[in-house]
Symmetry: C2
Subunit: 259 residues, 2 copies
């Protein structure tokens, strides 16, 4: 996508010379041990594996590399593990029988997905890589045991579940009670915030999704997404060039929400 960067700087009204390195995490040198992981500060599991966990025997995390478009799991597949994004971006998608689909989540490095499989024993959504990604596979049966032995793990695991519930609540709020323009503004601000937490620029980043995917996440058509991006650019709230975004006036964006 644009991970193979250091390409020629775009010579356009907006230039993004340095964006290429902005939010690209290159995976660490292949090790399986958590405290070697470059993510350890950003990761939801930080500190747990190797310390509290150490006393109860190791939690073996296998890794998996996904290429753009590959699935980590698919709807209906047996649930066996939850997945921690190490590098790259993953979307989750829920399908309706008639082919319509809804992007229900966008997961960045340090974030965990796949918990939807616990209830029924098989996943309720597809998880697809939005770019070449590196995923930690956390075997669920081992996690269950560990969570009974180490209350720190239990606490973190419960918080993880709850966090996902809260995230989805917010998404329902967005889908159910905001207008298209507000949803796009909220989406950009949310991306900015999460990327900041990962140590990236708050104002410049790269969308990992097509307009269609963004539209599916936000409950609107790709044309509407495109028009709203253009309008925001015209109003000098953002600069946009394909998937490269610069937030120029974040307060303006914030003001867009709530009339």
């Amino acid at each position: 996508m644009f991970a193979e960067t250091e390409t020629t700087p775009a010579v356009k009204p907006v230039s993004f010379h340095h964006v290429s390195r902005l939010n690209t995490i290159t995976s660490a040198a292949g090790g399986t041990v958590c405290f070697e992981c470059r993510l350890r500060t950003a990761c939801f599991w930080k500190g747990l594996f190797g310390s509290a966990v150490g006393e109860f025997g190791p939690l073996v995390l296998s890794h998996r590399r996904l290429k753009l478009g590959q699935a980590m799991y698919r709807s209906g597949e047996a649930f066996q593990a939850i997945y921690l994004v190490r590098s790259g971006f993953i979307k989750t998608v829920v399908l309706l029988e008639d082919g319509r689909e809804q992007v229900t989540g966008l997961y960045m490095p340090g974030e965990t997905l796949g918990m939807d499989g616990i209830a029924s024993g098989s996943h309720a959504s597809d998880a697809i890589a939005l770019e070449d990604s590196d995923i930690c596979v956390v075997p669920y049966d081992r996690l269950e045991t560990l969570s009974r032995e180490a209350s720190a793990v239990q606490r973190q695991l419960h918080r993880l579940f709850s966090h996902e519930i809260v995230r989805e609540q917010r998404m329902m709020l967005l889908l159910g009670s905001m207008r298209a323009e507000e949803r796009v503004a909220a989406f950009l601000l949310n991306l900015s915030e999460r990327l900041t937490a990962l140590g990236f620029s708050a104002s410049e980043f790269v969308l990992r999704m097509t307009r269609e995917e963004i539209g599916s996440l936000l409950g609107m058509k790709l044309e509407t997404v495109s028009r709203i991006f253009s309008r925001f650019a015209k109003d000098a709230l953002i600069e946009i060039e394909g998937r490269h975004v610069r937030i120029v006036n974040s307060n303006g964006l914030r003001r867009t929400i709530g009339h």
Copy 2:
């Protein structure tokens, strides 16, 4: 609301003489012991408390009665327990600063709510009684211990979390990719299904919410809800009279979804 029924039968095109008793659960005689509870077959926790749990000391469930409109918890309040609906109906609501609100869930007897509080230690939504209700309060710290001691409890608790995640995913699908008419059809069919699981009629039931609340849940205005109910009635898919609904042609409703 209309729980104090046995009123004069409505003399109207549609009559609902017997609806009054259809889905009203009167709470059992006050006891605190789970295996006395009239819900035990429908309840998510069925069998757990008293059997597997017995060996590890009791889980004391306090009860709370809520009147119509009262809150079980409010956004920002410290998280201490999760809540099991024993009788009555509860809605959860998420608020936007500017006053807009989104109903994010509708909980029936046997269903559990409040898990959104674990992540941050305080609730992210309000839980409001849609009619006089009886709630089991499940203290979370006790549940944490129990879940470490009894793997059956752990398993059920995790499934509960996951179930909520899946429910919210489906809600996002509904809000993000269905048209208003489809959403209303899906809502009615979902209610019918869940009430059936509780032993009530699949075809006749009472909506516990105003048109405005239904609209908020489904991401549309109250007028739209009203118009769609009228249209469904005209097309002989349902009969509706205030909050009393009879599903006349459930396959027709199903066909409404997916064009």
